[in-house]
Symmetry: C2
Subunit: 117 residues, 2 copies
């Protein structure tokens, strides 16, 4: 079975590699919001209220490291930091959309009501 190493980590399938970029609880919700427009740290936090500071900060770092978003800090007081999706990040949007649609479908099958905003 084909397998490969990347960045000191072993992967068995392209699925695993894909989820390295968009997996976990928070990466997709973050990217989804940044597709519309550049957002400040605090705006993201307000928009995803259940995320903790620790998770928001760490996930933004990881997305930045992978080249999915860029971070721009302004040397003002109080500080202002903006996050923008990159072209590479935009490539994940249709994937996220597919997964979201599937999620809605499964919710409908399970009889769950959810306001599609």
């Amino acid at each position: 079975m084909p397998e490969f190493f990347f960045d000191h980590k072993l992967y068995y399938t392209p699925i695993e590699f894909a989820l390295e970029h968009i997996g976990g609880t928070w990466k997709m919700p973050i990217l989804w919001r940044l597709q519309q427009k550049t957002l400040r740290y605090g705006e993201l936090k307000k928009d995803i209220p259940h995320i903790t500071h620790k998770m928001l900060a760490s996930q933004l770092r990881e997305l930045e490291e992978k080249g999915m978003i860029t971070r721009e800090a302004f040397a003002v007081v109080p500080p202002r930091v903006e996050y923008t999706i990159t072209d590479k990040g935009r490539k994940a949007i249709p994937v996220i959309e597919t997964i979201m649609k599937y999620g809605y479908e499964m919710m409908k099958e399970a009889g769950i009501e959810y306001p599609k905003r």
Copy 2:
């Protein structure tokens, strides 16, 4: 922010609900293989050699509980058990395909060679 309970678990987004069905390391690889044909436990194990008995058995149980696959046991010695994908399970296939394609794309960008079988 809309959120909902299902089966004693709290979800914030349809993405989380979708990943409940196909998330984790092994569910997608298993479903992907069952899309072609019904397979026996041992055939799946041979096809996904890195999975442990514990994980294969537990993931098959979860997929069965969620109605993604069916399990048929034959009362013979040695035992024979077959797993078949359901219509509900088939709905996940295009999602998995999208994620796999995205994985291949990311691998190509990262300069990773991988035989596309």
